[in-house]
């Protein structure tokens, strides 16, 4: 199910401001690709163009092509709603629906997409919660509100919610930045397991995290404040952190700026 993403010539705008400029890259299936770079370099914006979430911000506009295997996400008759169903997303701050129970949170995406029998639904919710390493912690209180969980548990609940609809790709926008180190570790372990099933793209500010979880790493940077962000280089994580081919990457990684 995991699919390859092939981006070519992609630029994104906020109104008249160009946020990212002419990005082309390939994201391999069944692997973790990490986006790193200084604040404001457009890595989150770029992530959001991969499931057409960028265009929901007022003034948001995208040019270019994103191929998911052989389908262009920005093709003429493509329904953004269908795209987002195929490309799941986990956000920076855990955002379970506060008025729904844990069970309903996980089932939320499924219920949108068709009718399920109660038993089917139970199965999928259990599988998804297990897949997010949360089942043992919540199996006795599935009907309690999701907002009663700890931050790390909430984030895993959001991951369960995202994988319940069996997306092809899972986008993660700094999923650990609001969490404590132990919860972060739990999520990182989970990412390692999930990559067997999904294509995973993760934005992170934490370079150690990128080094720990990702197979490939993309470094984004911007020439100056107000300039659009660009992809500087994309390579195997090991290579990026040991022997990057661009000087700017090395400067950033060794902490000389950013």
């Amino acid at each position: 199910m995991a699919k390859r993403i092939d981006v070519s010539g992609l630029s994104a705008y906020y109104g008249n401001h160009k946020a990212i400029d002419d990005i082309s890259m390939t994201v391999e299936p069944r692997s973790v690709t990490a986006f790193i770079g200084p604040s404001g370099c457009g890595k989150s914006t770029f992530l959001r163009t991969l499931n057409r979430m960028h265009e929901v911000t007022p003034g948001g506009r995208v040019e270019g092509k994103v191929m998911l295997d052989d389908e262009n996400l920005y093709g003429a008759n493509v329904d953004p709603v269908a795209v987002r169903r195929t490309v799941g997303m986990v956000f920076q701050r855990p955002n379970p629906f506060p008025t729904m129970s844990i069970f309903d949170n996980v089932a939320a995406g499924l219920r949108l997409n068709g009718k399920y029998k109660k038993a089917e639904l139970n199965d999928i919710v259990e599988k998804s919660l297990k897949g997010a390493n949360l089942w043992n912690e919540v199996k006795d209180r599935l009907n309690k509100p999701g907002s009663g969980l700890s931050g790390g548990q909430q984030q895993r609940l959001c991951i369960a919610r995202a994988i319940a609809v069996e997306p092809d790709v899972l986008l993660m926008d700094e999923p650990c930045s609001a969490l404590d180190p132990i919860s972060t570790l739990a999520i990182e372990d989970l990412i390692g397991e999930l990559k067997e099933r999904f294509t995973i793209v993760i934005v992170t500010h934490n370079m150690q995290q990128a080094a720990r979880v990702s197979d490939r790493t993309a470094f984004f940077n911007l020439a100056a404040v107000g300039q659009p962000g660009k992809l500087i280089e994309l390579d195997d994580t090991e290579r990026i952190f040991s022997n990057p081919s661009v000087q700017a990457t090395e400067d950033y990684i060794s902490g000389r700026f950013g």
Binding site: N51, M53, V56, P58, V81, A82, V83, R84, R85, T86, G88, M89, F91, R93, P94, N95, P96, F97, P98, T99, A108, G109, L112, N113, S147, Q154, C158, R161, A162, V165
Partner: protein, 327 residues
């Protein structure tokens, strides 16, 4: 440096207050405390004096104040009762709410989630302004402009929905009836309900909307999953505020309705009355006792609006405890 901070907590307030008390401080705090007490005294006085006058009136009423279909305090013996007024007040407000609440939610959603941004901002501003249009102007417009426009609709309703009884038009005449009053009240309270509801919708946390979007929800599904649940209590309290306005509205009803003291479920027949309308209409011809009778009916209106507002406050208070965003 200008930042927003939460209002002073009790803790650091008392820390500040513990400094030595100066005469200036004592005078100033005394003044402000006195103002607060003045407000309480006024409220108490309103309740006491209205009740006192009402008791004077009701004790001489030869009929049952709550069940009588007549208003003749000048008669011998005086006969008056609020049954028709209570019925008319409630019916007109119910019609107004039935129309205004769904439409207001629609407009609020339009402003907060549907309208192009260039349209949304000026529209919100205009709705704000409309909430300030004096009720007498709604009344004037309603009587001269709306009534003739609704004539056709009334006939049509009579023709096709007459079998429902409530839309059966048994008497001829222009549309100066409870149905028109309800529509006019709906138009009047629409901006009030819309303003509050819109504010609540705009406060719905973006992150939950994004969560719904990212699951592949359509715009309507996003609203149903992430906006309406968050705004439910806000919608209810906004509606209550609107209801309070509709119940107490005087001039618009007085100008549009052609009143009578007959209790009729035929909404399209002219007639009926509301508390406030009756006071405005009967006041000039009333003698001293007649005024007391009107005050008694005003007291009932006062109690009803207190109950409605109290309910609204309780809902708002509960909403404050409910934390939509989990931080």
């Amino acid at each position: 440096m200008v930042t927003t901070t939460p209002p002073a907590t009790d803790q650091n307030r008392s820390r500040r207050a513990s400094s030595a008390v100066r005469p200036g401080d004592r005078i100033f705090s005394g003044l402000s405390k006195g103002s607060g007490i003045t407000l309480l005294v006024i409220m108490a006085a309103i309740a006491v004096f209205l009740t006192y006058r009402a008791v004077l009136a009701i004790s001489d009423d030869s009929a049952n104040f709550f069940t009588t279909f007549e208003w003749n305090p000048a008669g011998d013996p005086p006969v008056f009762g609020i049954a028709v007024l209570a019925f008319g007040t409630i019916v007109s407000s119910v019609i107004a709410m039935a129309i205004a609440v769904p439409v207001a939610i629609g407009i609020a959603l339009f402003i907060s989630h549907y309208a192009p941004r260039k349209l949304a901002k000026p529209l919100a501003y205009v709705v704000d302004l409309l909430a300030a249009v004096p009720s007498i102007i709604y009344g004037l417009w309603g009587a001269i402009f709306l009534v003739p426009y609704l004539d056709g609709l009334n006939q049509w309703l009579d023709q096709y929905l007459g079998w429902t009884y409530i839309f059966d038009k048994s008497a001829d005449g222009v549309a100066r009836n409870m149905f028109t009053v309800g529509i006019l009240l709906a138009i009047m309270i629409l901006p009030i309900i819309t303003n509050v509801t819109r504010e609540v919708f705009l406060q719905a946390p973006k992150m939950h909307e994004e969560a719904a979007l990212a699951l592949g929800a359509t715009r309507w599904e996003v609203i149903r999953m992430a906006v309406l649940p968050f705004g439910r209590s806000g919608i209810i309290s906004a509606s209550m505020l609107g209801l309070g306005r509709a119940l107490g509205e005087t001039m618009a009803v007085a100008v549009v309705l052609s009143p009578s003291f007959a209790l009729s479920l035929h909404l399209l027949d002219p007639g009926g009355g509301t508390f406030a309308q009756n006071i405005a209409a009967k006041f000039n011809e009333a003698d001293a006792y007649g005024r007391d009778a009107l005050i008694a009916s005003g007291l009932v209106l006062f109690v009803i609006t207190l109950l409605v507002n109290g309910a609204a406050r309780m809902i708002i208070a509960r909403r404050k405890e409910y934390s939509g965003a989990n931080a």
